[in-house]
Amino acid sequence: MTYLLGWSVIPQIIVRRERWSGRYRISSIPLVQPGQTVQPDQAVIRIERLKAIEELATIPHLSLPGVVDPSVNIQRPMSASNAQENIQREVLPAGLRGRVVAVTQRGGVIIESHAAVLQGSIGAGNQVAGILTMWQPTDATGQAQVIPPGALLVVPGPLNLAMLHRAMASGIIGVIASSISSRDLEGFLRADLIDLISSVDAELAQVPLPPLTVLFTEGLGTIAMPVRTINLLSYYQGSIALLTGATSVRQGVFPELVISLPPKEVQEGWQPLQPDPAVILGSQVRVCSGEYEGAIGTVTYLFTHQQTFLSGVQARATHLLLEDGSMVTVPLMSVERIS
């Protein structure tokens, strides 16, 4: 099941997420303690230095044939990029509003937050925090939209390779879009997507990827973004959000965007939603394969007996009223509840 929280869009829920550097061989120092309240733009982690190769010195070395001097210094010269990384110092904002509940071994900070969560079908890239910014098509005067560096850009439709390159060149740190072709995404990531989504360690698999985190709400292809998703993202435009792109089918990790709710929305009596993924009459669902892939519809009937599809395969089925008003019959296994 793609949606770990049950639905693709959950407007109010309590989540705990670890904010961490997203990189290995660096030293992360938490700047906050458990019990402390944090704001989305508050620095919570300081990255200090590269541990790099000295780790190797701790490995015992044995006498091996051909080894003249086993005690020789085994540090290798560092590459230019490594050297630059070595002196990097920065602080990371929380990205979430909430309470620190724990600090992890690698220097991450687990924050509990009242949030809206958008879960994607596929994505890539490390965890980043930035300001949600809706992409605007060029206006009548021909002036291009100015997008601040460090933003999380929302493109409410399919993306392509050129747009991804432009986004990265402009200093954007994350993009949320509806879909992309597998070829364009692989071209941008310079990675085999099958390898990437099959990884046993999704975080490790993100390390060599370009520094632009991407989340696709609908997945691969050219599928439009559902209106309710656009509405949620538009509503929180300007908020700081936490974006994670890592996707691993094997590990059960999927991309997500977590937007902490403003305090005014979390008043007394606020209750988190408890999404039920079971498909029942009246459920809003998304079709995830076949001719109607990407279509959103409402369940109007659940067939008692198996139905036969064009392939000849028989399966339990449901009748859907799609957003365009048409009625279709699709296998029950090919729909996912979204709300």
């Binding site: 091996l64 044939p65 003249v68 020789v72 071994q105 690698r106 597998s182 394969s289 000849g312 090919s334």
Partner: protein, 634 residues
């Protein structure tokens, strides 16, 4: 010939069901993608399959409880039968006078992924093969990382080992300098980091030039990996307010190396890994103890850690066992009961299983973990490449469409192919999943058993819209020779009947005969040898029980289906061309002493040749595929 050990499941807390008093059984199979539950009951003094239900498996968020999927599948059975089996989240047991509840619940499991085992120490190619054989019947995948000192003393120049092998590609010559040794260490630690093993198997008897050093290095690698992993410990997104720990999973060690160093290894790994000693792995005769120990590790590290497992165990009359273990029991039983060689095939979402059992007790299991037509599609494409997939398709398709299909199916493995194109792509992958599994079996140097009966199950086979599609997939992938029979288990029950037999053996036998193996596809005759191009390969004489006689000439390169329906029998005579063999030698005629059985497809004559050779020209190939599909009714 090899005989694999078999680990039977122990009795669960609710054991003690008296087989003679069992009148209803719920049997659940929790697969990677789907959970299937079957209700067995007594009809006219015979155990029969009463109803089936299935639902997505629920070991991952948002449910994170394996019993939820089982309950959802049971709800389907409740809907069909009008009986109630669940009350307040528990299974009603025993069966009530009004028909609610069941006497026995049992489960088999293949969800949870394979046990990732890294093989360390003095790992040469022979030991690597033995370790592969040792885990061939388990949901496990092995990756060999020979110790640096072992590589240094056995290879003239550094060789590529493990997941990352780029360091030496431009500088592969000369001596093992300290820098090279350091790089080898770094590479091995990276390899372990990439593999994220759950278990380690240390092998080698310390009689090589490197002495015991490889064993010592294996321990040091594990210590370094544990330290590295602890440093990376964090938390990944979980469901709701929880977050799952990541980065550190304690690696358990099986020590199958030199016995005199076992205590030294224990001391070195103290605090980092629990060490279980097994007999040194030196020859094929010694793979049994390693296999049993690895099976126990799988139970402990994978199966028992599935969310909801404790509840499932509590429900069960007998401890849940793996689906592969259950299938192996049935296949061996069938081979001995019917005194024939039986090949069983189970193509699942993340695992493809092939089991060969001989009438004399021979048994070859091959659980190809990670290869399947759900989450395992990506591994198939990466292993075989695009051409081997598209060669089975009777239409043009580009690489992007195939890759997009694979990724979408990996992300949504439960979906049903609704159009013919998707169905044919999935069947192409099923063929390659099976071919890869056959190749893996042969790679382990097991002696092949020619099957008298091929028994097929798994979603992609069981749900075929046309029986001919299942027959063609099996013939294309297994490429049997001579005379064999094909049977399809549409109930997907055969993988559970071994487990059923542990509590109700009579039920297992009766359901197998009454329901599971009732879809007999037919007898197949597969001539091999040198088939004369464009000429008759085989003349087939059929004498039906009503006395009617038919003679059919089968051209080389073709498939013919001769009508012979289920429950029909006929006497078969085969007259091969001089260079063609039907199992008795080139040109030797054959007349069956006993009548052969018909089936849902009929009597299939596959004269396409062995090995099966597909035309290189795309148009010609597609036309040929369509011809074969039409001939067999696919």
């Amino acid at each position: 010939m090899s005989t694999q050990p078999h680990v039977e499941g122990g009795k669960g807390p609710n054991s003690g069901a008296n087989p003679s008093s069992v009148s209803s059984i719920l049997v659940a199979d929790c697969g990677t993608v789907l959970t299937k539950v079957s209700l067995l009951g007594i009809v006219e003094n015979q155990y029969r399959l009463m109803a089936r239900g299935e639902a997505p498996t629920t070991v991952t968020p948002p449910y994170e409880d394996i019993t939820k999927g089982i309950i959802q599948a049971i709800n389907v059975i409740e809907f069909i039968t009008g009986r109630h089996f669940i009350s307040e989240g528990r299974i009603i047991s025993p069966e009530q006078p009004i028909g609610d509840g069941v006497d026995v619940f049992i489960a088999t499991i293949s969800a949870g992924g394979p046990l990732r085992v890294v093989v360390l120490g003095a790992v040469d190619s022979r030991l690597e093969e033995l370790t592969r054989q040792a885990v061939s019947g388990l949901y496990a995948e092995t990756h060999a990382l020979p110790a640096p000192s072992f590589i240094a003393t056995t290879a003239a120049v550094p060789v590529a080992v493990g997941a990352s092998n780029t360091h030496f590609s431009q500088n592969a010559g000369g001596q093992w300098t300290p820098e090279r040794v350091a790089l080898e260490w770094e590479r091995q630690i990276e390899g372990l980091r990439d593999l994220q093993p759950q278990a380690a198997l240390i092998v080698g008897i310390a009689d090589g030039p490197a002495g015991p050093t490889p064993l010592q290095e294996a321990c040091q690698l594990l210590i370094s990996a544990a330290s590295d992993s602890r440093d990376r410990q964090g938390a990944v997104a979980g469901a709701g307010s929880t977050s799952k720990p990541t980065g550190w999973q304690r690696v358990d060690t099986l020590y199958a190396g030199a016995p005199q160093y076992v205590e030294a290894v224990r001391r070195m790994l103290q605090g980092n890994s629990d060490v279980t000693r097994v007999d040194p792995l030196i020859t094929q005769a010694q793979i049994g103890p390693t296999s049993i120990a690895a099976g126990a590790l799988y139970d402990r590290k994978v199966m028992q850690k599935l969310p909801g497992f404790a509840q499932l165990r509590d429900w069960s009359a007998s401890a849940p066992i793996t689906t592969a273990t259950s299938l192996s029991s049935l296949v061996r039983f069938l081979a001995q009961h019917y005194a024939m060689n039986v090949t069983a095939v189970d193509i699942g979402g993340a695992t493809t299983t092939l089991m060969l059992a001989g009438e004399s007790g021979e048994f070859i299991p091959m659980v190809n973990a990670g290869i399947g037509i759900g989450p395992g599609l990506g591994a198939i494409l990466q292993r075989v490449g695009l051409q081997r997939i598209t060669r089975w398709l009777p239409f043009d398709i580009n690489e992007e469409e195939v890759r997009q299909y694979v990724m979408n199916r990996m992300l949504h493995p439960q979906v049903v192919p609704t159009n013919l194109r998707d169905l044919q792509i999935s069947q192409a992958f099923a063929r390659e999943a099976l071919i890869l599994t056959v190749e893996a079996t042969k790679q382990n140097n097991f002696e092949w058993l020619d099957a008298d009966l091929i028994l097929a199950t798994g979603g992609i086979l069981a749900r075929v819209p046309k029986y001919g599609q299942a027959a063609l997939m099996l013939l294309d992938a297994l490429q049997p020779k001579g005379v064999t029979s094909l049977a399809l288990d549409r109930t997907m029950l055969i993988s559970q009947l071994g487990a059923v037999a542990t509590v109700a053996p009579v039920a297992a036998v009766q359901v197998n005969e009454n329901d599971a193996v009732t879809h007999r596809l037919g007898t197949c005759v597969i001539p091999f040898g040198t088939l004369p191009r464009g000429e008759i390969a085989l003349r087939v004489g059929i004498e039906y029980t009503n006395g009617r006689q038919v003679m059919v000439d089968v051209m080389s390169g073709s498939i013919e289906v001769i009508p012979l329906q289920t429950n029909e029998q006929a006497l078969l005579s085969l007259f091969p061309a001089p260079t063609v063999d039907v199992g008795l030698g080139a040109g030797e005629r054959a007349r069956a002493a006993e009548e052969i059985d018909g089936g849902l497809v009929g009597l299939i004559i596959d004269a396409r040749g062995r090995p099966l050779d597909l035309p290189g020209n795309d148009k010609e190939r597609q036309a040929r595929l369509l011809q074969w599909m039409q001939a067999i009714g696919a």
